[in-house]
Each structure stands twice: as structure tokens, then as C-alpha cells.
Symmetry: C2
Subunit: 428 residues, 2 copies
């Protein structure tokens, strides 16, 4: 029997306790796959004395994560704590000491992935993070390896289960954002502080990671244009329905020659689009590549067991590498494509205006669109007493041109309010 | 600049010529990803003198595949010829000489994968074959690596584009199998001799490969129960429609404790099932695992460019390994799960009987089902003069019990014919 591969686990919450369970339940299989047993030698938690129903030897718990990481006998560090600090310090220390790292930490990877990758390369250690994006869905490994003979042109995905649950509920019941958020919280789909999800920070971190891998470049969360779903109204959802669309929070990373744009925002997509039927807390990601064409990956994007499945898959790979002295391919960022601002994105728009119901208003409004080079595809007007609602869908136009159009519309007397502006993705 | 990695290509048809094109067009990217240039040093074809529009230096062509494989300067052999021999002899020779192999040859892998894997292990060489199943879809790597921390329980897929095109056409237009096959042939979706596709041999080979990887066991094409689509009638399709179903050729590999069953056959699935909307020549594969839950992979399953994308992805991996002296994980077949016969499969059935329209027939027929322990879920009877059609859908029952039921039904006077028997998959 080979020498065991020794593992330190940082964090023992929803994901960590599932990691422990799988390590235990599938020990025989994991040993066969790695070629050596996997031995959990320590678990760092905030309160080591707390009673836990994990079956872990209480003697393994420690509050000294740094001490655990620094132990000479630890081969692999698994981090499922999340957040930038102290996770970054721990993982950099682990990598500096040549230990392999498996992490589910999207925020850290998206903010400071380069530093971690550099530390891993310098030490000749593995850095794996499949669990950081789209939970159980094998997505990063295909991008890191399978598609390395191809040129990825676009990645479009639903990568946040909380917002997808909320938008699905709004679509199904006509509920407001607040009502749907309350339901999500009650059912455990939304955290007590839902900011990271509903404001799109979580999806933006994942978008940065996907863009980095897909385009062989370093894209950080700061490069990602981000709009959450808090402004999406029941009226928007109804308006989308009337158009045969539904509203989803999408992450979209596109390559345009030598630059990329990466963005997260709610968008209308046709109900016939495969992403439209991705409901509740599921995730799905489309990857388009020049030779492969369109690929889709679908599965559970969150939850203890699905996320632990991804962590364990990474663990088997890095443990096997340690046993054989191999190393996974290091970061591929040679392309150095620059991230361009949202203004350069070209897409379509659904603009909803409250206007005075009088002659000439449409001509005035249409004139504003024309002045900024934004071509109108359809207009619908509904009267409402002295007021009217104008719903305009445009052809493809640069985001900057649309923004300038909207800014000018706000200055016009006949336009009482720009009720909403939503991007439209996918062929209508 | 590092020493080039030298490549021999066996075969230069639809896939091979796309491989050459991508090697050329993406040379800069591929070099950056491998860390060394990829140099094509020879292309084995049947008729080297034939004029080709591939931009390949005519001096690279040879009819002597074996001589090319044996050249000392060749690092990687790509095989896109297909068929068992002479491909097997060539690839075994390549592996024996320590060359890495990338192949799209599903038939060879499914018949004799063990011999190839053993040869690769002995020589310490890489054997990759992502392109052999589901074209461009990254599927084998997720099974080979991403899901190694989890326990796969079931794989269900549409893995043959030709039959999916034919069944989609029959569903859309009500055409017969023969008419739909003619259309597929005219459009280039079916080969002149469509046997391998329509009789399910192609799907069975892919099923064997998927089952081997998913269950860490050696499953060959001979272990796969196989039924093609030639017996599917327009009436079956209409009957499926009436039930809210469509008919697809599925490959299904299931784990039951310490055994697996692997099968390929047409099946009714509800139109709400995600596989129901996989149209034309697309492929999609569901993978269910204990921790990950349900995953789906979707994309183009065939065609020159998509298949070449998978070949190139493998090529980058094996070339990188040669440069760094690394090796991919070897075959994982430790579980040695036995393949069990179709009789042990438990599923539901749609049975269509031509019966005499007289009192007592239903009681007699129901008695036969009961005698074999097959529970009936629904019965529909339609009169037709002196005859009637009985459509019976069963609850879940062992395939052997259903087969015995059908055998006895055929002996009963009141049953004029067993018009069709189709398995039903997915929740109705």
C-alpha cells in the first residue's frame, strides 16, 4: 500500500462536511483512483469545540488554520471557507510550501487569481478550483484542457442559482422582486445578506474565472461590468412575457479580435432559448468555439454535495499528481487579451418609456434613437389616459450608443420617465 | 524556442483535413498552449498522389502508415481512419514504441480498448480518445477526471446523430423510417451503407466507452445490448405523440450495486424530458452521480470541425505531457463491475397489440401480464371493425419478465400480432 496523501481541510460548513462524508464513504474507490489512501489530518474551523455531526475524530479540529497549513506532513490543502482574507494568506502559504491547493473560492480567484497561479507555478504545485464556478458541473476542466485545441469565442451562462430562483419565481407567479426574494430566503436559496447574489457580485467573479480560462488571459472581477437584478420589476417580467421572452441573469464573456468584454446583467432571452428553461437553482453554461460550435453544460450549481463532488474530483487529480510526481498544466494566460468596457458591447435593447400621449412624441423619440445611430426594430404604444407607454426594441447597437440615447431621452419633456432598459440576448 | 513536437496523422478525410487546417490556422495559439510548436511530419493516406485541397506539402503524404508510425522522430500519432484493422496494428506499434496516441476510433476502443490501454501503460505513453464519443462535447475528460471524486450511477445519452436526424424527421413529418433515411442520405447525414448507425452499432461502441469510464470497469461492445431503429414505424411515432412522448435512440448505462447494464435501443421519452428537444444531428448525454446529481453535456456529435476540435484538445494535452515528461492518468478499471444481460434491466414498456374485438380479450391479455409479474399502468383500446388495437403501458418490470410476457402473448389466439414493443424512459 502506498503512503497516504495527507489532507488539511479549511472550513467545515455545508461543503466541508460533505467533503468529509464523501472522503469517508468512498474511501475504497478514492484509494483505487489515486493509487494511495487519502488521509484527513486536520480540519480548521472557527470553533473547534462545537459539537458536530460529521463523524470526524474531534482531535482533528483546530482553530489554527495557519498552523495546519504549515504542517510538514500536509500534502494537499482544501479551502472551502470563502472570502478574500484570511483565505488568501493561508493558500499562498500552502503554495509557498509546495502543497497542492483545491479551493472553491470564486471571490479570491476572481480578485487575485494571478498571485495564486504565480505562487503555484513557482512552487511547482497544483492549484485546482473546479468547484468555484457552477458547482458540480465539469466546466473549468473542459475549458482548461478539452478546448485547448480550439478558439473559444463566447461564453454565456446562468451561474447563480439564487438569482435564477428569484427570476424563475417572478416569471412563474408575477411576484415582485421583493416577494420572490422573501420566498428564496424562506426556502434557503438566498442568504440572510443576499447582496453578493442579487447584485451580481457572485456571478461577476465566476464570469472573470470563465473568461480567464476561455480566453487564455487574466480577467479579474474588476474587469466585469455588473448589474444585479434588484431593479427588475414585475412589469419588466410581464413585458418580457408579452414578447415571448423570459428574464435571466446572464454572464456573458465575448472575444472580439484582440479584446474581450465580460458582463453580468439581467437580459431578456426568448423562451425557445435553451437557457430559458434552466429553472430554479440549476446552472447552465454555453460555450461557443470556432471548431466545436455550440456546447452546453448543465447541472446543479450549488449545494453541499454537488460542490463537494467538484472538490473531490480536483482532490483525486492533485493527489494522483503528488503520488506520481506529475503536475497539471499551469495557468494559460499567454494571450493577454485586454478587457474592454461595456460601452463596446454590441447587443439589442428593450426600452420602456412613460410618455405623454400626444401627437409627435413618437417622432421625437425616434429622432433621439436615430441621432445616436441606434436602429429601432419594433415599437409598441399603449395609451393610459393622458399618458402612454412606449416599448421599443432595437436592432444591435453599441452599449455606449444606447446609453447616450437613454441619457438624451431623460432630458426630453415628452418623456416622463425611462421606466426600464433591458438588454436582449439570443435570436428573437 | 522548444523542440517541436512531431506529429504523424493517419487518415486525411473529413476529420483529418480539419485537423490539418486547425494545426495550421491556430499554430501560434497551439504553440503557446503546448510550450512548443506542433509539427506535422507525415500524413498516411490510401492514395498519396491524389490531389487534395488541404494546403499540406505534398511531400508529407505517404501510403506507408506503418513506416510513418515507426519513424523515430514521431512523438504523437493521430488516427482518424476508423475501423478495427489496420488501425489496431498501427496504434499498438505506436504505443509499443512509446509514442502517444490520439484517436477518434470508437469501434476499436469499444472492441479492444483493454489491449490499447495495456500497451499505453507498459510504454508509459498517453492514449486519448475524446473524439470517439459525442464529437466536440467534452465528455470523456469529465468522466476520466472531473467525476473521479464521485460515484456515477447512470449515463443516458443520444450519441448518434444519424439516427437522431431520422427519428426527428419521423416525429416532425410522420414519415416512415425508409423515407426519413432517404432524406438523411440525401442531406449527407447518413452514409451510403447506414448499417452501423441505424442498427445501433455506432451507439453501442460509444456506450461501451462511456460505461468503461463511468464505472471504472472494462465494458466492450459485446457487453452492450443493442437494438437499432429500423423497426420503428410511423405508427409507433404517432402512438408516442399521443402519449406526449417522442422516440429517441438512447444509450443507457446503469450501475446496480456490483454490476452494470449497458444498452442501446429506441425508447419513448416524454416531450418534457431535456433529451426530447435534442434535434437533428446534435448529441446530448446525461450523467447522474451520487453527489453531483444530474449533469448534462450537449453539442455537435459529429462533423469534421467539431470532431477535429476534440482531437486537437487531446493533442495539446499529450504534446504538453511529452514536453514536460508527464503522463495522463492511465486506465481506471479497478472496479471490475460485471456487465449483466438485458433481462436484468428494469424499465417500463409500451406494448401495442392487434387483437380480436370481442369480450374477454382484455381479461386474457391482462392475465398474461399478471402471470409474469408485469404490472399494467394504462390500457387504451381502439376498435377497428372486427379487430382492435390494445395499447398497454406497464409499470417498471424486469426486461426478462416483459420478454416472457410478449412470448406468451404471441401464442394466444385473441392476439393477432404484437405490433410493437418499446421501452419507456423518463418520468411520464
Amino acid at each position: 500500500m502506498s503512503t497516504p496523501v495527507k489532507i488539511a481541510l479549511l472550513g467545515c460548513g455545508t461543503v466541508g462536511s460533505e467533503v468529509v462524508r464523501l472522503l469517508h464513504e468512498q474511501a475504497t474507490d478514492l484509494t483505487a483512483r489515486v493509487g494511495a489512501p487519502l488521509e484527513l489530518v486536520g480540519v480548521a474551523v472557527r470553533r473547534p469545540g462545537r459539537t458536530r455531526d460529521t463523524g470526524i475524530d474531534p482531535g482533528l479540529f483546530t482553530s489554527d488554520a495557519m498552523g495546519l497549513v504549515q504542517r510538514d506532513d500536509v500534502d494537499v490543502v482544501i479551502e472551502v471557507v470563502g472570502g478574500i482574507e484570511p483565505a488568501r494568506t493561508w493558500l499562498l502559504e500552502a503554495l509557498k510550501r509546495g502543497k497542492s491547493v483545491v479551493t472553491a473560492n470564486k471571490a479570491l480567484l476572481a480578485e487575485d487569481g494571478a498571485v495564486l497561479h504565480d505562487a503555484a507555478a513557482e512552487a511547482g504545485a497544483d492549484l485546482f478550483y473546479e468547484a468555484s464556478v457552477a458547482g458540480a458541473i465539469p466546466l473549468l476542466r473542459p475549458l482548461r484542457e478539452s478546448l485547448h485545441g480550439d478558439r473559444v469565442t463566447r461564453i454565456t451562462g446562468i451561474v447563480n442559482g439564487t438569482t435564477n430562483f428569484i427570476l424563475s419565481a417572478m416569471d412563474a407567479t408575477g411576484a415582485s422582486f421583493t416577494e420572490a426574494l422573501e420566498e428564496a430566503t424562506a426556502l434557503g436559496y438566498a442568504e440572510a445578506d443576499p447582496t453578493a447574489d442579487v447584485e451580481g457580485f457572485d456571478a461577476a467573479a465566476k464570469a472573470a474565472i470563465l473568461a480567464s480560462l476561455g480566453f487564455h488571459s487574466r480577467v479579474t472581477a474588476a474587469d466585469v461590468y455588473r448589474e444585479g437584478i434588484t431593479e427588475v420589476t414585475a412589469t419588466d417580467v410581464a413585458s418580457a412575457k408579452a414578447m415571448g421572452c423570459t428574464i435571466k441573469l446572464l454572464c456573458i464573456a465575448e472575444r472580439n479580435h484582440d479584446a474581450v468584454t465580460v458582463r453580468v446583467h439581467p437580459a431578456m432571452i426568448p423562451r425557445t432559448h435553451p437557457l430559458a428553461s434552466v429553472g430554479d437553482a440549476f446552472n447552465a453554461v454555453f460555450v461557443e468555439a470556432e471548431a466545436a460550435g455550440q456546447l452546453m453544460f448543465y447541472g446543479r450549481g450549488a449545494g453541499g454535495a454537488p460542490t463537494a463532488s467538484a472538490v473531490l474530483g480536483d482532490l483525486v487529480a492533485v493527489a494522483r499528481n503528488r503520488r506520481t510526481g506529475a503536475r497539471a498544466p499551469s495557468e494559460s494566460a499567454y494571450a493577454q487579451l485586454a478587457a474592454r468596457p461595456i460601452g463596446e458591447v454590441v447587443t439589442r435593447y428593450h426600452v420602456c418609456l412613460d410618455v405623454s400621449d400626444r401627437a409627435g412624441v413618437l417622432a421625437t423619440v425616434a429622432g433621439v434613437f436615430a441621432r445616436h445611430g441606434v436602429s429601432i426594430a419594433t415599437v409598441n404604444q399603449a395609451g393610459r389616459g393622458h399618458d402612454a407607454v412606449l416599448v421599443i426594441v432595437t436592432h444591435r447597437a453599441p452599449d455606449a450608443a444606447l446609453a447616450a440615447t437613454v441619457a438624451e431621452l431623460r432630458t426630453i419633456d415628452a418623456v416622463k420617465a425611462v421606466a426600464s432598459v433591458l438588454r436582449v440576448e439570443g435570436d428573437l
